[in-house]
Symmetry: C2
């Protein structure tokens, strides 16, 4: 219970930039002098056209996209994408390559399997408890696409560089690190991301899709499960998640205009994560769980000398206004999720607390 | 451009109760003394558990549901339900009955057809431009389910009473009139509704599903397209649309505690719609398009003597702070959508404007 905002290290839904929240709050009863809340405005109005078109244009500028890419807004989270990707892009005897780097990759593979779609797990880091990102992956020559998870929230690993697939379309689930760094877009045919970590509230999923991949999609699917339905109607075949798209637009504006774009965003994220990882390396008390070279700039997973100390750590941190530090229920331990909106002030407060906690525990 | 709120007659997204919007605004930076925005709170937290459980309990109380019903929150709007219903409930040679009362019924039928699911259109009002609700419908004895659209936003018709299907499970799309009146729940096996008319922001779809129907569902579907996935995890298999569920909870609280429940809500809605329909009957100028006995309490569709007058009417009304009166782009004319949140003050302002407009036009 607090009358002020905490430092929020939740894995998702996660902290959003305070100026974005303040703008939503200020205009909540009267959006853009429309006399209506953003939640009350028709998606067929010029008010909302301005919002969605601005979000698309900012995405294109930030990522340097040319006209070969669609920028789409869907619903159902990354989990629905796990099903839609094989549904849309695999037919008959076609097969896809999957790289398994943890829980979310495993779930993506499961949804291909449920549909009896042919697929090959070409690399996995399961042998070392998903603590690293595989290298030198032997892609199948005839794969229709390659699927990767760019950042793994639960195990705290992240692709620092993206593999060369030798021309096979690369599809990446970037739910937990989209817009946290510049991307070599020439490598990607599709990127998707649930909004609730780096982009906005839960309930909206962004999809960047190259037209040449879309052209190969299966035509005979339910309307809401075909990417072409969204591409043909600027994501408005039916009523889109307007509040989510509006918030994403404000977050993209904040990245572009306040943070100065993706290169600066990445430098800031490296600085924040570096502070935490460097402190832990020197501590002999906190132990980062991800392997050197595979560590995530977004989700810093770590252990203390005992589970008892971890519980005490999380409880005392929460009492001091440092929230969301508990590791994912499937793995335990601790995790500081430090997405774009995490402030340097918050990171410094966390490190200061960790120092004091360590001293008192010894 | 206005510095005050307008009277909002949008068809959806639509007006929400002002006290609900004010509560969201007031707590937007610090929800329930958590130190976080509702958009930043983990769906695995006790804060959010309280929200979703309250929404489920209020739904059960308002509709008088027993433990035979699941209350679920999905994404993708009613349009995804059009596909999921035949996907889940029709297998092999099973067939379903559909009643076609307009655009949305037609779209529901289309999604069964795309999947090559057997179905029969057992009644249609297309012969009279969907201006009425069919009666004495000849249901198929072996239908797996009967699908109806309870209220038709575009043509302004509504089922006043619900058909007796003789024991065949009845499934109703209630996107535009859910929670506007008490329901004979013993007649329904499933009700679904996109939130953006009577319930909250776009991007959340409520589903009420009876367990005996769920038990007949196809098991081999993608996780996000199976109702059982939602039923087994209290709608939190993956991150749900938290902000939408939160807003719905506040709207249900408003219906229960401010409006006094569904019987009073219906009385209020009848009073509001009555004012408009009675005025038009007496006017010899405005003409309601739906047949007597089939008229919607939610969407009052009407014509003026000419299209020119209609355009002038909409333009002048908008300038006077009466927004959203344009008919659906597929049919033209005028439409006042007066869902639960429409105020008596707004209806009276609309009728007063209509009176003046009529006098000046003559």
């Amino acid at each position: 219970m607090t009358d002020q905002r905490i430092f929020n290290f939740n894995a998702g839904p996660a902290a959003l930039p305070l100026p974005v929240l303040e703008e939503i709050q200020a205009s909540f009863l009267n959006f853009s002098n429309s006399g209506m809340s953003i939640t009350e405005i028709s998606h067929r109005s010029s008010y909302f056209d301005d919002v969605i078109n601005d979000a698309v244009e900012r995405t294109k500028r930030l990522l340097g996209l040319d006209d070969q890419y669609h920028v789409l807004f869907l619903q159902g989270g990354a989990s629905l994408q796990f099903a839609m990707i094989p549904m849309n892009f695999l037919s008959g005897d076609q097969s896809a390559d999957y790289v398994n780097t943890g829980t979310w990759s495993t779930k993506a593979i499961k949804e291909a399997k449920i549909q009896n779609k042919k697929h090959v797990v070409v690399a996995s880091s399961e042998d070392k408890d998903f603590s690293y990102i595989p290298e030198n992956i032997p892609f199948s020559k005839d794969a229709k696409y390659v699927h990767i998870t760019s950042n793994n929230t639960i195990k705290g690993t992240q692709f620092a560089d993206f593999p060369d697939t030798g021309g096979i379309p690369l599809i990446a689930d970037m739910s937990s690190d989209f817009f946290s760094r510049p991307l070599p877009m020439e490598k990607f045919s599709m990127i998707y991301a649930g909004a609730q970590k780096n982009l906005g509230p839960s309930g909206t999923c962004m999809v960047i899709l190259r037209k040449d991949l879309l052209e190969t999609a299966n035509p005979d699917l339910p309307s809401m499960l075909k990417y072409s339905t969204y591409a043909e109607k600027n994501s408005m075949y039916n009523t889109p998640p307007c509040f989510g798209i509006y918030t994403i637009d404000l977050v993209l504006k904040w990245i572009e205009e306040e943070m100065g774009g993706l290169e600066k965003m990445e430098a800031f994220n490296k600085e924040k994560a570096g502070l935490l990882y460097d402190f832990m390396e020197a501590s002999n008390f906190y132990r980062a769980t991800a392997a050197q070279g595979s560590r995530s700039l977004m989700n810093v997973t770590f252990r203390l000398p005992s589970e008892e100390l971890e519980q005490k750590f999380i409880k005392e941190a929460t009492a001091k206004g440092l929230g969301g530090l508990k590791g994912h229920r499937s793995v335990g331990g601790c995790r500081a999720s430090i997405y774009n909106a995490a402030t340097m002030e918050g990171i410094k407060a966390l490190v200061a607390f960790m120092e004091v906690f360590q001293k008192e525990a010894k």
